[in-house]
Symmetry: C2
Amino acid sequence: MTATCQRVVLASRPTGPVTPDNFRLETVPVPEPADGQVLVRVHYLSLDPYMRSRMMDMRSYAEPQKLGETMIGGTVGIVEQSRNPRFAAGDTVVGPLGWTEYGLSDGRGLMKVDTRAIPMSAYLGSVGMPGVTAWYGINRICEPKPGETVLVSAASGAVGSVVGQLAKLAGCRALGIAGGREKCEYVTAGLGFDACIDHRQHTDPRSMARAIRAAAPNGVDCVFENVGGVCLDGAIANMNPFGRIALCGLIAGYNGEDIPIHNVRNLLVMRLRMQGFIVSEHLDVWPQALQELAAGVASGRIKYRETVAEGLAAAPEAFIGMLAGKNFGKQLVKLV
Amino acid sequence: MTATCQRVVLASRPTGPVTPDNFRLETVPVPEPADGQVLVRVHYLSLDPYMRSRMMDMRSYAEPQKLGETMIGGTVGIVEQSRNPRFAAGDTVVGPLGWTEYGLSDGRGLMKVDTRAIPMSAYLGSVGMPGVTAWYGINRICEPKPGETVLVSAASGAVGSVVGQLAKLAGCRALGIAGGREKCEYVTAGLGFDACIDHRQHTDPRSMARAIRAAAPNGVDCVFENVGGVCLDGAIANMNPFGRIALCGLIAGYNGEDIPIHNVRNLLVMRLRMQGFIVSEHLDVWPQALQELAAGVASGRIKYRETVAEGLAAAPEAFIGMLAGKNFGKQLVKLV
């Protein structure tokens, strides 16, 4: 009898909001590692907003997710069998194995991690891709000087929470935007941001701009944008001369909504610089970033929060919930 | 009897499009230079889009033009009396003397120019502020590599014409956007651009995007934006990864029109960099830029065209016409 496991494949592409029908849970044989490969039992699957874009068949920086194939995704797990000299059974590894209980890897993109001082799951969050995303945007695009004000949207999330804490560690004023009072309280009291704006109270750019002005009377120098739309337009209205905008995500527009920037004039008048980036294209910074983030998490200077769904079958609903902001901190799926 | 001269002051701020009533022609005594000052007879007044913003009382990079005072503006003229050792009567000088027949200067911002190989008026255009604006945007923001495609809006204008010619001299493909068939023919046949799109034929972003795609099948690497709105949105839709946008002007929005960027997604997905700039803040580049531009104009490698209104009383109508794109090349007012 062959052992089996579960995986989730893309069944269809969304035409509007993502629905559970876009995914299909399948039972497949546990794969056998060939020479050079390792078999990993996945303990945690990471759910991230970028997956939404991959579900579409459109021109982008990456190939679209193929229909009928295992959904892409970052995972952390433990090597169960190894036919690769770089890994041994029992190693904890991070890698892009996707929405599956067992994954094969030839070792490319697979990294051993140390779980003595840092929990396994953090390697999918603050000490993983989301953390490096925050690190890159802050250190390579925003480059805030001490005393400057840094604004980040989706501030309680996996990326945003690190952005604000890095800004504070850099001697800046950190201002967040998050959805709901509970998240805002966590952003300030839990993460140490100076202020947080509840975007549910400010659904048009003018109202958001006024709220940001009240929270940042000296203006905003850096914006780390994860959302777009009202957040971004409201932020641009408050930016100081020579401000920098790291454009990281546009979750407000993931279902095809029009999320225009109306305040283009301020981009010119305030001589702003706005730059889009994809963290996977900057592998050169990963070692330094991961080292700094690991030190921050291990020492408690960088805090984080997780929302954990149980079992692979729960992944589609957890993903849909995350796109709607129902998660609180890093969204994970626990498989073991 | 005191000699008199004419000047134009700002009579009122526009609430929508600029009207002749916003200006007032006044007759005033010819000023007397104090110790350290020079009296300049203005030969040409430069009319530039930035003046439109100064007419408004809004937060910007510069103080608003004051009501009842001489309209600001770049001029070229001849020193009539000098009580400043750096200048002598008969010197040809460029400086910000404003909409006036005679201006006083203490020498700050006043520069002697050589008219042996270059006509006086060119120091207000290709070898002046507009030329340096083009030079800065190309060399410091766009940084195009040979073989790349550079797109510029208002391509037949004082800035745009230099942008495209500098792009060609850098080994790039130059693509222009201009208003009307006649201007487009000049941009290609006269200035040597590879192609030009008539924006009057493409009044929505999709149509503009298709036209740009047809003219730039390999995509656009650099955009030098003078207009905004449909031009910019159409350009962003065609940009290649890591493209650069120099945001120089937004003439489409000068009357308060909403000129949103709808295609924010491409800024992220294509990892674009957009940067606003004001050439007067980069005085360090002026000497090198002016030297290169002067060499280009003197040798005929950089061509330009002028629209010249006659007499100071014609300045308001000429300015209003320029904002509507009625000028063809650099808009000047000839006073002598």
